[in-house]
Amino acid sequence: MKKILVPIKRVIDYAQKVRVDPSKGPQGVQLKNVKMSMNPFCEIAVEEAIQLKEQNKGAEVVAISVGPKQCTETIRTALAMGADRGIHVETKPDVRGDYIDLQPWAIASLLKGIVDREDAVDLVLLGKQSIDSDCGQTGPLLAGLLNAPQATFAANIERGDDGSFTVERETDTGTETIKLNASGKPAVITCDLRLNTPRYPTMPNIMKAKKKPVETISLEDMVKELGLDLDEVLTPKHEVVEVYEPPPRKEGETVGSIDELLGKLKEKGLVA
């Protein structure tokens, strides 16, 4: 096995309370001074890639991220987990990756170009969705553009000696197991929660990661190199119409006795 690509996304940290500024309309989600981290499903994808690399000596894991300059930090985390090198497609600071500017189609187009550019890629592992847009489209779109076999929501991945991948995937009613045959094209698999528990990048690995190469190339340059159209890439295919915070939960009332409870229920017409 030669090469595994893992596209990773820098998103608002899952524990952050997302705030919406109503005066900014659809651009209202506040990103300034907000803690960002690697998308949890992308983390799982990185972990899976490292595990496969460990099982297949000689495989190279490449972490790729499209976003502002801070994405280098996100790539460093992947490197500290064990990825070998990184590619950072750097966007201008005001270009938003949370569905407002860059959308799955643009990313998938870029990734398709990068897969071709890299050559001899056996597998592309992605998170099943990002926690900001929740689209879940980049993986399937990429597979379509590559005309490659795909499996989504992977809960378990096994690589066969013939280069095939047997994937157990999550469905609404349980799991189903499908086999992606070796086809000369890279397999595209998106990762779900149960696939693995990402390892902790501890100090020795963090130190090693500092020396691993990260290629930084601006979005404009990458687009040119791949022969894509910059406008095409930057013009979103979908328009966000409205963004709002969910309405606050109403406070409950405490009552002092069963009688009081019955009284209130009757008052509210919930009980005869």
């Binding site: 524990a15 001074n33 981290s37 801070q70 528990t197 902790y200 501890t202 963090i206």
Partner: protein, 537 residues
């Protein structure tokens, strides 16, 4: 000094048959207090607005008695059990005032209780005192957007104050493991220290105002502005009835007496706490050192390289970490395994949690990175892990906050919370281990963790068996306290005195100080009804 019997019970033995109406009397005064009668209960029912809520009468039925026994009569460590038959849960300051006035006039003992998470039995009745629970006084009044002063009732659960402050862009300056249950009134009354004492200082500094009800029912307001009823009288045009100001130097700062007073001078009903701005960037790392000398180096380096953003440094020893792995809730298991993976079997590594808080993620991350790199390259740390996202931060703090509960599940815990010079921290633990061996006490594990930057060590001696051996407990206590006192330390850094350390007060406190404290008690609570049998010798 007259010290009547104080029935100290362990592990669930009831003693209500010993006292029908009398509680332990108090220190030097030969005052006899009594427990409540049915007439008293009727009186309380008449003055409380919602007696169905606010009066738990254990003599009425077995269910109520059971509830009182399970919730109010026993403490968190399960070492102390009282036999109260009456729990009062007032909703307003004026209700507290009516209750205390009556108890004062009738010499009825009162034990105030908040979240009941204390570790010294300070909130557990000695026998059948009335339990005054603050749980229904839990309103948050306001948070001043400019000064950051948060004003609330004493019964507010600490976590709710954190949540409220965070929503408004502020950080509540006190943070301890029990924050999901403990109440701010109890925190203030015990002068709780917590994880961020190092960064924000203690409650003596952050509490700017307070409302207290004295033993005779008088309401004392000190730089606080909050109304839960209409009973505040202003007799003079300029009389201070408001404000929760950050600074006010007009007279003796009486509120300081109630902070750490453990409910013996008055009942705290409201507090005003100055909150710092919510930091927007937080970094947490868990580091592994081979020996304490390296830990001291980490401490020094952190002050130099993290400086103003350093917000917490906590130490956890290997014995504790093993118990967390075995008995913890599972949080951080993977991380612990990974950090231990490269450890040689006999090693006794020390773990340090380092936290930084600031307002610029990029600047803080680069400081943290430089700090960790320099520690690793100089071999001051053998290994370490820097949290990459919130999940990791939760896991690392989860490990630290699991120390106390995990150790409690491992066996019978002889718990100590001591203050010593930072350089002697581990030395004391080692001395205790040696002394225990010499005293021929087998099957004991000594665990140490705590706020190392404050010199505050939580030393826990765990016995594999459940036991009830007072003699053994005494030997262990003597060993630990001797090691601490010979280094001029304190036998209670932050947990307080309560019941558990009362007997040491006359040994560790200056005689003049004790005399003055006793005189003060006389001034504030001349009938000695508040929290009898605790704190002062």
């Amino acid at each position: 000094m007259f010290l009547s019997f104080t029935p100290r019970l362990r592990l669930g033995i009831h003693c209500s048959n010993l006292l029908s109406k009398r509680c332990a009397s108090n220190h030097s005064r030969n005052i006899l207090l009594r427990g409540p009668t049915s007439q008293d209960v009727s009186y309380f029912r008449s003055v409380l607005a919602r007696p169905g809520y606010s009066v738990l009468d254990g003599t009425a039925n077995q269910d109520t008695k059971d509830e009182i026994d399970n919730r109010y009569n026993i403490d968190w460590t399960r070492h102390y059990q009282g036999s109260s038959d009456l729990v009062l849960r007032p909703q307003t300051t004026s209700e507290v005032s009516s209750i205390l006035k009556y108890c004062h006039e009738n010499y009825i003992g009162v034990t105030t209780q908040g979240g009941n998470t204390g570790l010294c039995g300070g909130a557990t009745p000695i026998s059948n005192e009335v339990v005054l629970s603050m749980e229904y006084m839990n309103r948050i009044y306001k948070l001043d957007e400019y000064s950051g002063v948060l004003t609330c009732d004493a019964g507010c659960i600490l976590q709710s104050l954190h949540d409220y402050a965070e929503k408004n862009g502020y950080l509540f300056p006190l943070d301890i493991g029990s924050k999901g249950t403990c109440q701010i009134g109890g925190n203030v009354s015990t002068n709780a220290g917590g994880h961020h004492f190092f960064r924000f200082g203690g409650l003596h500094g952050t509490v700017v105002g307070m409302e207290v009800v004295l033993a005779d029912g008088r309401v004392l307001r000190m730089n606080i502005d909050a109304n839960d009823d209409d009973n505040n009288e202003r007799t003079h045009q300029f009389q201070q009835s408001s404000a929760s100001l950050r600074k006010d130097n007009t007279g003796y700062d009486l509120k300081q007496l109630f902070i750490g007073g453990e409910g013996t001078l008055g009942v705290v009903t409201k507090v005003a706490v100055a909150c710092p701005a919510l930091p927007t960037s937080k970094n947490v790392a868990l580091l592994v050192c081979n020996c304490y000398k390296d830990v001291l180096q980490v401490l020094k380096t952190s002050k130099g390289q993290l400086g103003e953003i350093l917000s917490a440094i906590e130490l956890i020893d290997m014995n504790t970490m093993k118990f967390v792995q075995r008995y913890g809730s599972g949080i951080g298991d993977h991380l612990i395994s990974e950090l231990l993976a490269s450890e040689v079997a006999d090693n006794q590594p020390l773990f340090i949690l380092v936290e930084s808080q600031g307002c610029n993620q990029e600047a803080d991350s680069s400081k943290m990175d430089a700090f960790l790199t320099s520690l690793y390259e100089s071999s001051t740390i053998e290994n370490g892990f820097l949290a990459q996202d919130s999940k990791h931060i939760e896991e690392i703090w989860g490990i630290r906050e699991s120390c106390n509960p995990s150790v409690a599940r491992a066996g019978y815990v002889h718990k100590f919370d001591v203050s010593i010079g930072i350089e002697s921290y581990i030395e004391v633990a080692d001395e205790v281990i040696d002394a225990l061996k010499e005293a021929n006490l087998p099957d004991l594990t000594v665990c140490v963790w705590g706020h190392v930057a404050d010199g505050n060590a939580h030393i826990n001696v765990i016995s594999g068996q459940v036991e009830n051996n007072a003699a053994k407990a005494e030997i262990i206590e003597n060993i630990v306290y001797t090691a601490v006192m010979k280094r001029k330390g304190s036998i209670s850094a932050e947990h307080g005195i309560g019941q558990s350390k009362r007997k040491y007060m006359s040994q560790v406190k200056d005689k003049t100080a004790l005399e003055l404290m006793s005189q003060m008690k006389n001034v504030f609570d001349p009938h000695f009804i508040l929290n009898p049998g605790k704190y002062l010798p």
